[in-house]
């Protein structure tokens, strides 16, 4: 059975709940006596509130109270420390003062008896502002004179400047990526309920434990006094890693009005007050010798961050992958930030890597063209035998196999290298490829597993399933361990009162959670054995070491076999539990990274300026795939999001006043069904046992890394146009005579 279940393409165990509408997402909770809140959001990007007039709104039907900076309860800041698991991006509390740092900032909150009445009254709140000039974008930030270099994140080896000067071939190009927004389909939502001094938050979070700790800090409570529940999350992509002002506003209002409160962030404000991937400007300088071996790599990036949070500012680490993806003795990466009047940026799927690899992998393609070398050959030539940034061996690196398998499947050998040379009817076909890369991380984790008298095994962990399939792979691990079928295993996640589990981010939930689950499962078996040898138990004369657990049964050397249900019943016990803690991976012996390769076909119809991605083949080396069905889905979805990044997505801010212009789903374009290309994902499935006992490195980010550059490279192959600024919209490919 064990060979069958780990990695098997099992349908999700939470599937039926999701498919019948029975899964309760946060905003699906309707509590008795619950009030509804609706926000009022700043219409300026910088300035201060000089007056809030709520008189008309207060007379509106059903209004219970209206909160703003003059009357919102005083709360505490969270220290916002990752290691204490109480992190937020926007440390400032909602309604803390009358300052406006970005458009879309909460300026008031109406609480009313119904959603309709709350919204109607919110429209009647009148806010007068004194507007100051806003820093609307990265260039304005730099003009403003703000550039903070992030020394701690820099990396340098050899002498890249000197090597560049004396090299045979060089590339010096600047790439730009715009603000992107996560926009999970589920908007941020909270139902906050107080019972005395206990706060229960039905919350939209990728980290119930971190969120619990944040709310405890903010409301001055012990963590035991807060429960955060996210049994289902309408995804997050990083946007729901850390709590945002909406959740604190809801909880503060609920306590003040003495009723539970539901607050959902409107879609428009999902672009403003719940994080985004920041704008970047990246300069890439590459140099090679005559043969095409890299002799110098410099990756200097600047990203935007918010003026609201000048301490602990978010930094987009664009050079993180560049440090080690290819072999080069002379290399440096730097990161700078500049402050703008936007909400706080945060991690968005493959933070740093998605933006950074667009630049690096575009530059690699430019260099291959300069050399007249096939871009795949160029990458193979510069393969890194080890992580040169840390001087450590790779725990497991099969990128060359990824190149080979994907190239074969794609038919790369048939590529005519000449730009614009491949045609199909009205369309020019372009083929491009590149590498993907993401770090693999494993943190400490607690988990609990129990054999129960009803014949089921129960597992609980304070992590959550954000759509990645965590419920299912936990069940698969336990099915493997206990020899019981999946329908005898119940998994509960998304509750901060369970043993402390990881946030679902950075692709580390799988690698972090599963070893703890397995260890707890093994402990539960040991507990079962201890109960079995108690007097009156199933094996009163045996020693635990004489008992063997297999397929739900304990047996002794004499061949006596008893099912665990009977073992428990013999002593009238409800359950046999095991609770375990596992530590994070040791990072001193190996460098842990995931790898892969994308091969992309685009079709460009120059007669009507239509660009479409028509085919993607990706081979992914992310260790063991714990469930082929959900793993493949993760990568396919990443590719779709990557197509959005490459071709469509860009939050526009008016350069005159810093206000977002396209903050809705009609104007901020994400891929739709009709944009779906043919996608083939190859999961290499080489277990990385240096990393953890399951050999799984996690799959959430790796697929989106590199995809934008692979598309840009294919676009170049079709059109001869090198687009260094995302998104690659049709106007950038047209020859426009002004």
């Amino acid at each position: 059975m064990s060979e069958m279940i780990i990695g098997a393409a099992k349908p999700r165990i939470d599937g039926p709940a999701k498919l019948t509408g029975q899964a309760r997402y946060s905003s699906d909770n309707n509590l008795t006596g619950m009030a509804h809140a609706y926000g009022v959001f700043s219409t300026i990007a910088h300035g201060k509130i000089i007056n809030i007039d709520t008189s008309l709104a207060k007379q509106s039907l059903g209004v219970i109270d209206i909160f703003h900076h003059d009357n919102f309860p005083d709360l505490y800041h969270t220290p916002s420390m990752m290691e204490q698991e109480n992190k937020v991006e926007e440390i400032r509390l909602p309604f803390e003062d009358n300052h406006i740092y970005y458009a879309g900032q909460f300026v008031a909150l109406v609480v009313a008896d119904t959603f309709e009445n709350a919204r109607a009254a919110a429209y009647k709140v009148r806010v007068d502002y004194q507007a100051y000039s806003a820093i609307a974008n990265l260039e304005q930030g730099l003009e403003h004179g703000d550039l903070q270099m992030q020394e701690k994140t820099q990396h340098s080896r050899g002498n890249p400047e000197q090597a560049y000067q004396t090299a045979k071939h060089t590339i010096d190009a600047t790439y730009r990526t715009p603000v992107e927004t996560h926009n999970p389909m589920e908007m941020h939502a909270t139902v906050a309920a107080w019972q005395g001094d206990h706060l229960t938050m039905y919350d939209t979070t990728q980290g119930v434990v971190n969120a619990r700790n944040v709310y405890a800090k903010v409301f001055g409570l012990s963590p035991d006094q807060v429960t955060v529940l996210t049994p289902f999350l309408g995804s997050g992509f990083g946007g729901k890693l850390w709590p945002w002002p909406n959740a604190i506003a809801a909880a503060g209002a609920a306590r003040a009005v003495g009723q539970s409160v539901k607050l959902v962030v409107p879609r428009q404000e999902m672009f403003t007050t719940t994080g985004h991937r920041p704008e970047t400007r990246q300069r890439l300088r590459l140099a090679t010798n005559e043969d095409g071996k890299l002799v110098s790599v410099r990756h200097d990036s600047i990203s935007t961050t918010s003026v609201i949070n000048k301490t602990g500012s978010y930094v987009e680490l664009c050079g993180g992958m560049t440090k080690a993806l290819y072999s080069c003795q002379n290399l440096s990466v730097t990161h700078g930030i500049t402050y703008v009047n936007r909400g706080t940026p945060t991690s968005m799927r493959a933070p740093g890597a998605a933006s950074g690899l667009f630049a690096l992998e575009s530059a690699m393609d430019e260099m291959a063209n300069t050399l007249g070398m096939d871009p795949l050959e160029f990458r193979l030539l510069n393969y890194a035998n080890q992580d040169e940034s840390q001087d450590l061996p790779w725990s497991s690196n099969h990128i060359r196999d990824a190149y080979a398998q994907a190239a074969e499947q794609f038919g790369w050998a048939k590529r005519n290298a000449k730009v614009g040379s491949m045609h199909d009817g009205n369309e020019i076909i372009g083929w491009g490829m590149d590498s993907c890369n993401w770090e693999a991380i494993q943190y400490g984790c607690d988990a609990r597993v129990a054999f129960r008298e009803d014949g089921t095994v129960f597992a609980s962990c304070g992590t959550q399933d954000i759509g990645t399939g965590t419920y299912t792979i936990v069940a698969q691990v336990l099915s493997d361990l206990t020899g019981l079928p999946l329908d005898k295993i119940e998994v509960q996640l998304g509750d901060s009162s369970y043993p402390s589990g990881p946030i679902s981010g950075g692709s580390w939930a799988t690698a972090t959670t599963l070893p703890a689950i397995a260890k707890a499962g093994r402990k539960a078996i040991e507990t079962l054995k201890k109960y079995a040898i108690l007097s009156g138990g199933s094996f009163p004369k045996a020693k635990t070491e004489d008992l063997i657990y297999e397929h739900g049964q304990l047996s002794d050397k004499k061949g006596k076999t008893v099912h665990f249900m009977e073992v428990l019943k013999a002593r009238r016990l409800a359950s046999a539990e095991g609770e375990a803690h596992t530590n994070g991976a040791h990072t001193d012996k190996f460098s842990f990274r995931s790898f892969g390769a994308h091969f992309v076909e685009v079709r460009w119809d120059p007669g009507i300026s239509r660009l479409r991605v028509s085919r993607v083949v990706s081979a992914i080396d992310a260790g063991r795939a714990m469930n082929k069905l959900t793993s493949r889905n993760q990568i396919e979805g990443s590719i779709v999001m990557g197509i959005g990044m490459a071709l469509f997505e860009q939050t526009e801010y008016d350069p005159r006043d810093g206000r977002p212009v396209n903050n809705n789903f009609a104007e901020y374009l994400v891929p739709v069904h009709a944009d779906q290309p043919e996608i083939d994902v190859i999961l290499l499935d080489y277990p990385d046992y240096n990393f953890n006992e399951f050999g799984a490195r996690g799959l959430g980010e790796i697929g989106i890394t590199g995809i934008a550059a692979a598309i840009a490279n294919a676009v170049f192959h079709a059109t001869g146009k090198r687009i260094r600024e995302l998104p690659i919209t049709l106007d950038k490919l047209m020859d426009i005579v002004a």
Partner: protein
């Protein structure tokens, strides 16, 4: 949404009477645009008059071969109607390129004609906008104006592009809009129905405020003509047009006997390309003539900071639709 009252009209007369008795009333048809705007607080009706149950959902061929379409016929029904697919292909294709399947199930013929612009500065309810707040100025002219802003028919007061696809096809086909009001019924030439912004961008329709569209009558189909609609946009579906072309062509041998050409996404109203049509009339159907017609169609175009690409893009749409229609 603020609070409002609701009245369901049982007859056209009652709908019109109720409207004229109330100062801030709105007719509710499919609601896909009206309720969107009420939610944005862009319009604040005190009374919503639901006209969904008026008997305005017939499609009938008149004796003179014109096609009469009830104002409450949904976009889906219209697009898939056998006569539309067969005789007015351009309209069927235009409808099916608009919005989404669900939205087309609600959106009505009358409502589609009354669709408001997508300019973000209009819709944000905050920026200066002469449509929303006459005399306040136009934020789009010097602002972000790539996708939903026009290059034809603009003024220094407003540059928002007309959003409908259906209307572009109707502009090519030719139609009349029948409206009813306190002073009775009247017909408005479809091409006069939508107004250029000029100095009065807040006036968008030739319809009087208290009038209700009852039906639209399409001109008789052109004998022996073929027609098509091509919509160009960033993503493959579910986006307003960056540029679109509605074309109807009847050939005699390889000579263009009849041609109708209208453009979407680039005009402040559904844009009929009269001069291009004139140039093509009686000419051989070949790419040189199509390119020439496309240049003529856009010769009056005025580009703004981010939308200069729409001029060549619309030209490409014209050329491709004409090529598609005249290919054997």
């Amino acid at each position: 949404m603020r609070h409002f009252s609701y009245s369901r009209a049982e007859s056209i007369d009652q709908a019109v009477a109720t409207f004229s008795e109330n100062q801030h009333a709105s007719f509710l048809a499919g609601g896909t645009n009206l309720l969107d705007m009420v939610k944005l607080d862009l319009i604040r009706p005190e009374l919503i008059i639901d006209v969904n149950r008026l008997n305005l959902n017939q499609i009938e061929v008149l004796e003179d071969q014109r096609l009469k379409i009830g104002a409450m016929v949904t976009n889906s029904i219209l697009a898939n109607h056998a006569c539309i697919k067969d005789k007015y292909t351009v309209l069927s294709e235009a409808l099916l390129s608009g919005a989404s399947t669900q939205l087309r199930n609600k959106a009505t013929t009358g409502g589609n004609v009354m669709q408001r612009v997508r300019c973000p500065y209009f819709r944000d309810n905050t920026s200066m906008c002469n449509k929303r707040d006459p005399g306040s100025g136009c934020s789009a002219i010097d602002g972000f104006n790539r996708s939903v802003h026009a290059v034809l028919g603009t003024s220094d007061q407003c540059i928002a592009s007309h959003p409908s696809d259906m209307c572009v096809a109707m502009a090519a086909i030719g139609a009349s809009v029948t409206v009813t009001g306190p002073s009775g019924d009247r017909d408005i030439n479809f091409l006069d129905f939508h107004l250029l912004p000029g100095e009065t961008p807040w006036k968008e329709f030739a319809l009087k405020e208290d009038e209700l569209i009852t039906h639209i009558t399409l001109d008789a189909p052109i004998e022996g003509a073929r027609s098509t609609y091509l919509k160009l946009r960033d993503r493959s579906s579910y986006q307003f047009a960056l540029a679109s072309s509605a074309a109807i062509v009847a050939l005699n041998g390889n000579t263009i006997q009849e041609v109708r050409l209208a453009l979407g996404g680039v005009g402040t109203k559904p844009w009929r390309a009269w001069e291009a049509e004139k140039m093509l009339q009686g000419q051989p159907a070949n790419i040189e003539n199509f390119e020439k017609a496309a240049r003529i169609a856009m010769q009056e175009a005025k580009a703004y900071k981010h939308n200069a690409f729409k001029i060549p893009l619309a030209q490409q749409a014209i050329v491709r639709t004409l090529l598609n229609l005249t290919a054997n």
